[in-house]
Assembly symmetry: C2
Homo-oligomer: 248 residues x 2
């Protein structure tokens, strides 16, 4: 038996509040790896591990967005969504988010080719990122769009991160352009996605699917940091074949 | 440039040696969670976490085998492979591997329904197991079969595990029927799969795909134990919403 209150359509304000509550509880801003990062407690090697693994995520983002594009038959939707691919791959060569992330990884001391190859990515990080691709391919388009709602929370995290990186890891300064760009890109994207799910989730069941998709996205961000923490902070055993930094 | 020796077809003995070497390096028999288990160092709660999460893996095995069945147009192959589904789901109700695993989980003190629901499974374990389903669905049938070659190594691990469980966790005795059955099932399955890949990998490239599939399977077994160790041994933080045992 589902209670009557669980079958009623949420107002836009109620839906937004549920999404914000989901972010407060499950988004990775509270993950201990981020807390260490913001407290200046990560070593250069640990920042390398983070940058290298997060590159695998970055490298899949335009693929994720292309899958979402491929699932819509609304050319207006596709025009707006296309912006995300341009943001990451660049309008010209060498000016997109992917390229900026490589610059960040290089600022940690990693070789460009090593990062680009994705050869040493932890299986646990790979599975979590690939779960994102499966989510946007296999669930409804509504849920695929909803999974990007983590951008509602990224602005605050990125602003804090930039501030703390300048304070604790000033040698990273040359690699911060990625975050600078996201500060303006993410809020527009978040607003569009929030309006989209508010309009298109026309039953309570669909609203719950939207909230579930945001939760699933939070889980996969958190799981990436778990895998990185486990391998490079504590206990500290990357599986055979995975990235290992010098001076362990 | 690939060296000439890397293009030559391996003899059946050479292929078997490469597979055995892959198992020696990447199979989860050396994972620290297993070492703790065999040394009697796991608590009841940690064994619960292991049994509950490994149930998610068990619950996907007949699905995995049905996908493989669905990809073969050879009825002789399908007849042999079908045995695996019968082994797990049972010839009658209540006598298969799935049911025996539930008995093991109950012997750790978990409620049957809680285990069956898969509600509290760590995202990291879920992704690794789901990667197995994607592997058998998306790669060649040859690689799908090859991924089961971990059974070449399971007999030895299971025999050791049963011995050490009786020694260190005698209260688990009533739950060991699953392992007893696998001692006779796995070697037959392994022999069939090894013969299959030896016959059907007719180029060196295909032989390397076979070895790569075994490596990928080892990775996903290892990654499950990493996620369990990380959440329930050290540092010890299951993500919000995941299984938590009493008395932490």
């Amino acid at each position: 038996m589902i209670a009557a209150t669980e079958r009623e359509l949420l107002t836009p304000e109620q839906l937004k509040a549920r999404l914000e509550d989901t972010g407060a509880r499950f988004y990775h801003h509270k993950h201990p790896f981020h807390l260490m990062m913001h407290d200046g407690k990560l070593t250069r090697g640990q920042l390398q591990a983070w940058a290298l693994h997060r590159f695998y995520y970055q490298s899949r983002i335009p693929i994720k967005d292309a899958i979402i594009l491929s699932r819509s038959d609304d050319s207006e939707f596709r025009r707006v969504w296309r912006k995300r691919i341009v943001d990451h791959d660049g309008a010209e060569g060498g000016d997109g988010g992917i390229e900026r992330w490589i610059k960040l990884a290089e600022a940690t001391g990693l070789d460009r080719e090593r990062v680009l190859s994705n050869r040493e990515v932890l299986p646990g990080v790979r599975y979590a990122v690939d779960a994102y691709l499966h989510l946007v391919a296999d669930r409804t388009l509504l849920e695929a769009v909803a999974s990007s709602l983590t951008e509602m929370f990224s602005h605050k995290l990125i602003a804090l991160r930039m501030d703390r990186m300048r304070q604790h890891y000033p040698w990273l300064e040359g690699g911060l352009a990625y975050f600078q760009a996201r500060l303006t890109q993410a809020p527009d994207d978040a607003m569009f996605a929030l309006n989209y799910v508010t309009e298109h989730a026309s039953t309570r069941e669909q609203q719950e699917l939207v909230i579930g998709a945001l939760r699933a996205k939070c889980d996969l961000l958190w799981a990436q940091l778990d895998a990185i923490y486990f391998a490079y902070v504590e206990p500290g055993w990357p599986p055979p074949g995975a990235f290992q930094f010098e001076g362990r």
